[in-house]
Symmetry: C2
Subunit: 208 residues, 2 copies
DNA sequence: TGGTCTTTGTGAATGCGTACTCAATCACTA
DNA sequence: TAGTGATTGAGTACGCATTCACAAAGACCA
């Protein structure tokens, strides 16, 4: 049913559905059944149907889902139809890699501001964006920026987060290995690469 | 020692515990109670106690957990005490960022081999590692490499994964937005950055 | 237009992980 | 050596997510 509680796990899967749909659309497929779709994603059909059903009835029985329409619908659910703008803070190795990555556009996202504290980097242009001084972070306020990406060293992360939030950002993608303290209305997703790599070794066959 | 089923979520938390313990050790703390520890991690005490209890009794009632000892124990549980070696394939923007990152060592992990297909990159050295031709990937076999890191474009990911597995790797950290098909005994963790960013917009206040 | 086939949408059951609680345990002190 | 206080370890209850199964619904064809 609509407007009831939606599992967080469902939200995590939606962007994956989008990516698979992009592929299907490129292949020229007009419709896809939950069965075929599940095969592509290595998931099971009822999972997909249930996930989608939380938001309404998008499919047609006997046929399946219209690929283009479903893509648009998921995009709308996630709020990507309004092409949110993101500010990146910390033009280091990781920040640079993110900026050079072309894959974000396909979903309707854009990084439109860059900040750093290093005087050598300030003023530089990456793509067509000029690197600004982190001290001017508050100037973001009028620029309708809804997302922040933190790629500064861990000790600076909390301070940057506070400033981003003060500037009106209410979603933060954090790469620093630090657990940010933020107000209720702000959502933080931390990607902790070292943690994932560490976890991976657990699953290796024990060699003793 | 409990050899019953351990929740995957528990395994995901263990590396975070390690990081927090590193901090405590640096601060000179000898012991920590589950209460203090939970506060630091913004988690709740019973969760931590339960997680640890799956592997045995590490704490002393009335006192708490010995920080150094617990760090070593978690390290052992994860298999990081044997300092697993990792091979990275795809020395692009992301691959370079990972190689320059010093944070992996603290957990007991090392990237000790690099492969790429670009002739300009082959032969180059990064840190003290020489970049090898991806066609020579099979030479990994004798080098006791247990982990692979994939930072090549998505269309090449499956092929690289197959070759890594053939060379004896059985844990893969994959950054390519592609869902790899691997044998039963191989564990894959995919970090899909674009997906996380896309998901983030869902939680933003709907502005209409 | 009626019948059949396919596939959806969802109520119900199952299974898993988290949160709670409390007796058992250990250090410390007198 | 016995008493006190703090904290663990785990059995239990709860809640959420996944899986299952089936009735309702549209498409297609005779
Ligand atoms: N590179 C990786 O592979 C990797 C892996 C795991 C985690 N991380 C984390 O990601 C973050 C960035 O990593 P990196 O490798 O890009 O580091 P980096 O040192 O290359 O880049 C950090 C950048 O932030 C800038 N900076 C520092 N303090 C700042 C401040 N107060 N305000 C604004 N800018 C500031 C620096 O000038 C630099 O450009 C770190 O927190 C790191 O722990 C990185
Ligand atoms: N950079 C990011 O921020 C980012 C974000 C999300 C996902 N990703 C994914 O991570 C992967 C790497 O991204 P990137 O930005 O570093 O890309 P990149 O193009 O900078 O680097 C790719 C590297 O792989 C090498 N390569 C290509 N084909 C190869 C092959 N068959 N064998 C060996 N090496 C090969 C190239 O020579 C290059 O050095 C991609 O799959 C990308 O989709 C990157």
């Amino acid at each position: 049913m609509r407007y009831h509680k939606i599992p967080d796990e469902t939200i995590k899967r939606l962007p994956r559905y989008m990516r698979a749909l992009l592929l299907l659309i490129k292949e020229g497929r007009e419709t896809v059944s939950s069965g075929k779709f599940a095969e592509l994603l290595r998931a099971n059909p009822p999972q997909i149907r249930k996930d989608l059903s939380y938001f309404g009835a998008f499919g047609t029985p006997g046929v399946g889902y219209d690929t283009k329409r479903l893509f648009g619908q998921i995009q709308a659910i996630l709020g990507l139809d309004s092409t949110p703008k993101a500010a990146l803070v910390g033009l280091g190795n990781l920040g640079t890699a993110l900026l050079k990555y072309p894959g974000f556009k396909a979903y309707g996202m854009h990084i439109t501001a860059i900040f750093d504290s290093n005087p050598e980097k300030i003023g530089e242009t990456v793509g067509d964006i000029k690197v600004e001084n982190v001290l001017e972070l508050s100037t973001l306020k009028g620029r309708n920026m809804s997302l922040g990406i933190i790629t500064v060293p861990a000790p600076a992360a909390q301070e940057i987060a506070d400033q981003l939030i003060a500037a009106g950002v209410n979603g933060i993608l954090n790469f620093a290995p630090y657990y940010l303290k933020v107000p209720e209305h702000v959502k933080v997703i931390t990607i902790d690469i070292a943690m994932e790599l560490a976890r991976l070794t657990y699953y290796l066959p024990t060699k003793t």
